[in-house]
């Protein structure tokens, strides 16, 4: 049944294309223009939008970085990891320790290096990378779901360390995150006082730009990666490890590398998460966070960088928005009131959304977006357009890899 469909589509594709000359990827001017406009809007937003939305925006930016990193591992390479929360924690704790001051808060005797926050951020990324590197021999040898189970151990180790290494992490009470600064310019409310077009640029406004820059960099890096040699190797090893290795890809090394890159993304995301919440605490980095990240990339579209960003937007912004509009929403109640708690309501919605995606739209939000784009350009659904649509359609990206499937009969 499925085979005849496949053959049918294949033949249809072929006859449609017969006699056509090379349909090179079409470069339209509309796309860069739209991107430029979108960027301008994002840059101007702090002038018009209130603090809540800017703070939400920074949280979303942090989630985007983390989701892109996880998607490189899970969506592109087909390796499942539940340890993402652990690597976020490494980034967050490292930043807080390196940039934070020593001193006692209440009973806790906290240690910190008091170094510049930028150093703390870089250290957070590097240390998360190092943790990923230490784990990567395991990551390189396991495939798909097995890696998922093995990586679960890291989350529990992380929880234990967060709770017990009080001098660094603040223990179960957590500790507050030092505010970010860049060469003397702090991302706080003052120092220096800043007004743009008579709008005060305080912490929320400043962090907004930081988030925008970091998320954009993370996005561009991942896009470049996927479109070149390492990206092709990763995608092929997801589709068939045997084919990848026979074509010269050192499969183990690439699995290790992508795990390293993914954990560095998580490290940066962890630093941003800590900055966004203003503190770190063990319960922020539990298994639930890993699951939320998986939800982001499944909803957004496995293997798609843009999809990861969309999924991150949806999953990380929704609870915050629910919280803010708890009064206006049916069923959702504020703290201490009847009805669903906002976080809970958001979780039900994610659950529902994931079921819908798995059933009806396996390519996630990214696939949905591509479908609309295609419809807008070509009502007949003709073949004139290359991959954008077709790629995301066939990129079900289910991490499948029957061993030696391609080589035995």
């Amino acid at each position: 049944m499925s085979e005849s469909t496949a053959t049918a589509t294949a033949t249809r594709g072929a006859t449609r294309r017969a006699g056509r000359t090379a349909p090179a990827p079409r470069r339209s001017y509309l796309r860069p223009l739209l991107l430029a406009v979108a960027l301008l809007v994002l840059l101007a937003l702090p002038l018009y939008v209130e603090e809540f939305w800017l703070r939400t925006g920074f949280a979303v930016a942090g989630a985007i970085v983390g989701a892109i990193g996880l998607n490189l591992l899970v969506g592109t390479t087909g390796q499942l990891s539940l340890a993402h929360a652990f690597f976020l924690a490494v980034g967050a704790v490292t930043y807080t320790f390196v940039a934070g001051e020593s001193g006692g808060i209440g009973l806790a005797d906290l240690r910190g290096l008091g170094w510049p926050p930028l150093v703390g951020m870089v250290a957070g990324v590097l240390l998360a990378g190092l943790a990923g590197l230490l784990f990567s021999p395991i990551a390189a040898r396991l495939r798909g779901i097995y890696l998922g189970v093995a990586s679960l151990a890291l989350v529990f180790i992380g929880q234990h360390v967060l709770n017990s290494w009080t001098q660094v992490t603040g223990g179960f009470n957590g500790r507050s995150t030092p505010e970010f600064s860049l060469f003397g310019f702090t991302f706080g409310n003052t120092d220096p006082d800043l007004f743009v077009l008579e709008v005060p640029f305080r912490e929320a406004e400043r962090l907004w730009y930081l988030g925008l820059a970091l998320a954009l960099a993370a996005y561009v890096f991942a896009r470049n990666l996927l479109r070149s040699r390492p990206g092709r190797a990763l995608e092929t090893l997801r589709d068939s490890e045997v084919a990848a290795s026979v074509m010269g890809v050192n499969v183990q090394r690439y699995k290790g590398r992508v795990f390293l890159v993914s954990s560095m993304y998580a490290g940066l995301s962890g630093v941003m998460y800590a900055l966004s919440i203003g503190s770190i605490a063990p319960e922020s980095f539990g298994l639930e966070l890993s699951v939320l990240y998986l939800a982001m990339i499944v909803l957004g579209g496995l293997g798609s960088v843009g999809g990861a960003a969309l999924g991150a937007l949806f999953v990380s912004a929704l609870p915050l928005v629910f919280q803010r509009y708890a009064d206006a929403l049916p069923l959702v109640g504020g703290a201490g009131e009847g009805g669903l708690a906002p976080g809970e309501a958001a979780r039900y919605l994610f659950g529902l959304a994931i079921i819908l995606v798995v059933l009806f739209q396996p390519t996630g939000l990214a696939g949905l977006a591509a479908r609309f784009r295609r419809r807008g350009r070509d009502p007949g659904g003709g073949p004139a357009d290359r991959s954008a649509s077709a790629t995301s359609d066939s990129t079900t990206s289910v991490p499948s890899d029957p061993p030696a499937q391609g080589s035995t009969s």
């Binding site: 499925s2 085979e3 496949a6 053959t7 589509t9 294949a10 033949t11 594709g13 072929a14 294309r17 056509r20 000359t21 090379a22 349909p23 090179a24 990827p25 890096f221 991942a222 470049n224 990666l225 070149s228 040699r229 390492p230 990206g231 092709r232 190797a233 995608e235 092929t236 589709d239 068939s240 045997v242 084919a243 990848a244 290795s245 026979v246 074509m247 010269g248 890809v249 050192n250 890159v261 293997g303 073949p383 290359r386 991959s387 077709a390 790629t391 995301s392 066939s394 990129t395 079900t396 990206s397 289910v398 499948s400 029957p402 030696a404 499937q405 391609g406 080589s407 035995t408 009969s409």
Partner: protein, 291 residues
């Protein structure tokens, strides 16, 4: 394409392939038992045999995917039986898969570029930051990939996702991808299975041209007897994992044991019928294309 059409004799860096007493077991099954043969440089060497004879298993040994329990495989000074698949690719051994193992979501060009993997260097940092050397490398190798695609009639499909191509086209992408590694030894596992007569003829021509223009060795697994007999310089016949004959096409064709193997395998009286049956079975086994 220059590389292929420029006349050349046997390349001086193509050593013989020496397969010596190779045995492969899967639990109780002995897929290959003490198989030996030699592939002389610059020849087209066919491996034939009924379904399940162990032909693909031999390819998996040659490309490092399976480890031989006994015996050895030499390629010049290299011991292929001791190397990992990516290392074997690195010394110029390329292979196409019987059951297409392409990435369906990637375009033809992207799939072919994977063949350039061991010839290129760009790592994660260079690629992510689009360093000039990474983009230059991509451009240069993209040019060669386009030539090879043109050679196998895929020039107009470079930007088409492989998953929507016809079965015959996908088979050609398989062969093109192997060629893109600039091999010294090319292993083709049933390159024309599922193709129509015209496509088969073109593929046969292509194989001849690859051999004559590049001067490399080709090992061909094929059920299409017409193709085997007209292309091969030498034929090794396997049956139930054993080598039952080895010689020129004419010798092998008249070998009583070979005739018995093909007649005795029950329903597959005619080898070409067997080929058709195999072809019909393929699309369902194609990994990924049925998504």
């Amino acid at each position: 394409m220059d590389g292929v059409s420029a006349a050349a004799d046997v390349r001086s860096d193509v050593p013989p392939v020496l397969v010596e007493d190779v045995t492969v077991r899967f639990g109780a099954i002995t897929a290959l038992s003490q198989v030996s043969f030699t592939v002389e440089p610059g020849t087209i060497h066919a491996i034939i045999g009924p379904n399940g004879a162990g032909k693909s298993t031999m390819f998996n040994v040659l490309s490092g995917v399976y480890k031989a329990a006994e015996g050895q495989v030499r390629f010049g000074e290299h011991r292929l039986d001791r190397m990992r698949p990516y290392q074997i690719a690195g010394i110029g051994v390329a292979r196409s898969f019987q059951n297409i193992a392409l990435s369906p979501a990637q375009s033809v060009a992207e799939n072919l570029m994977l063949g350039r993997h061991h010839l290129t260097r760009a790592g994660f940092v260079a690629a992510g930051l689009r360093l000039p050397r990474a983009t230059r490398e991509g451009r240069v190798h993209g040019g060669r990939v386009a030539e090879i695609a043109e050679f196998l009639d895929l020039g107009d499909k470079l930007h088409t996702p492989v998953g929507v191509l016809s079965y015959g086209d996908q088979k050609r992408v398989e062969v093109a991808r192997a060629l893109c590694t600039e091999p010294r030894l090319l292993l083709l596992d049933e390159p024309v299975a599922g193709m129509n007569a015209e496509e088969t003829d073109r593929m046969a021509e292509a194989v001849l041209e690859i051999r004559s223009a590049l001067g490399i060795s080709v090992i061909l697994v094929e059920h299409d007897m017409g193709m085997v007999m007209s292309l091969a310089d030498r034929v090794t016949v396997l049956d139930f994992g054993r080598r039952i004959a080895d010689g020129t096409p004419a010798e092998v064709q008249s070998d009583p044991e070979v005739i018995r193997a093909y007649l005795g395998s029950g329903d597959e009286i005619d080898p070409s019928e067997a080929a058709e049956a195999a072809a019909a079975a393929h699309p369902s086994e194609t990994p990924g294309t049925t998504s």
